[in-house]
Symmetry: C2
Subunit: 240 residues, 2 copies
């Protein structure tokens, strides 16, 4: 009997080495807000995004004349023009341009998985699009949550659960992994009201303090774009 491709969930980047060798396909998720920002930027015409892990790298790109976005602890870092608010990319200012991006958690997760053959960017915003792409690809998938400073994070786990549930429902995938079961359960409890469900979550509280409730509502509204960002060489592009 030919076994089906599997879908597994890894809750935080520092658990990634336990899973990495079994997968050619990794979907990185940072719902609040890096991967939501990336999907939004591509949707509005950004050509390439270069994810970098450190502020030092971001500064070097800035000195070379790139558009550079840098976020730490929810805020735009001094000296940079953009942070990781998806709302700041909902316009045509960067159409056709390259953007360099560094964030507290998301870009680190992207770079930790950089040697994987198919590295994709997922969020609730492109949920159906990424699931359709993964179903067509028909290979085992690891969904990697960015977490918060390497700790488990609720919104990424719920999004991982949404992708898992969607893929398993097609009956083309299978899972033997407890974190996938947990993520699915969390998604199924949360799906009628993501915003209410996340009320107590540490990240929602953190962003609410920064007056970012509009960002949160936007990031938690599924299926606003069909873009599927993927890694090509050292940058991200969108599948066309």
């Amino acid at each position: 009997m030919i076994s089906k491709p599997k879908v597994e969930v890894c809750f935080t980047p520092n658990l990634f080495p336990l899973y990495a060798e079994d997968f050619e396909v990794v979907v990185v998720i940072d719902v609040l807000r890096a991967t939501s920002a990336i999907c939004t930027a591509f949707h509005h015409g950004v050509e390439k995004i270069i994810p970098v892990s450190t502020l030092q790298e971001a500064k070097e790109y800035k000195n070379k004349g790139f558009h550079v976005a840098a976020e730490r602890k929810g805020k735009i870092v001094d000296g940079f023009d953009y942070g990781n608010s998806p709302l700041s990319y909902r316009n045509d200012k960067l159409k056709g341009e390259t953007l360099v991006l560094t964030t507290t958690n998301g870009t680190k997760a992207i770079n930790i998985a950089k040697d994987i053959e198919h590295l994709l960017i997922g969020s609730l915003l492109n949920l159906n699009a990424i699931c359709k792409y993964l179903t067509d690809l028909n290979k085992s998938v690891l969904i990697l949550g960015s977490g918060w400073q390497n700790k488990f994070c609720l919104e990424d786990s719920i999004c991982a659960g949404a992708i898992s549930e969607n893929l398993l429902q097609t009956n083309n995938f299978e899972s033997f992994n407890d974190s996938t079961i947990a993520a699915k359960y969390l998604y199924l409890s949360a799906r009628t009201n993501f915003f209410g469900y996340l009320k107590a979550s540490s990240h929602r509280k953190r962003l609410k303090k920064l007056n970012l409730n509009e960002d949160i509502k936007y990031c938690l509204t599924a299926n606003q774009t069909d873009v599927v960002p993927y890694r090509e060489d050292y940058y991200l592009k969108k599948l066309s």
Copy 2:
């Protein structure tokens, strides 16, 4: 305003360093089956349990004439008399004796937290007893799941959620931690039927293959003992 002690959940031992410095109290959980076996052994009169991480250490104790239990991948290791089946400790054979124990996940988690001032052993079997003890202690608590080879594991997370829910309900504790929220949600969905809920879990499947369904049912039945095992020096004792 004086803040309350907090309750947090760490899903696997290799995330423990991210949490360790904030806590004087750690409850180690390995529902299937190390911490369930420890609670059962103390309930039936075992005097001390020495948790060791490696088979080599276990052999050295055996050569010195100790009673030694050794489990790997769900089975008793050749050459040892006991594994980690709680049912094998439901008798008076080891009353007043010292037992040396090594298991795939549980004893490693215990030893990773060995420098913590108050290291306690939790399971569903001693759920109310451990919660009562923690409430009286009134200090911040980290609940550490043993996981499966450092990956997230469903039954430990549900037990962590049961302890969290119980402590938070007293209103003497607070939590700002996403893994605590997730564990609580998982427990609340599971609590009317742990056995059914865990049907798909990897560990239940693993043990079922080994004909250990009776062990699983026993381990998932809450509040069968009042013992609270704790670390004293290099061994575990039960609070009297």
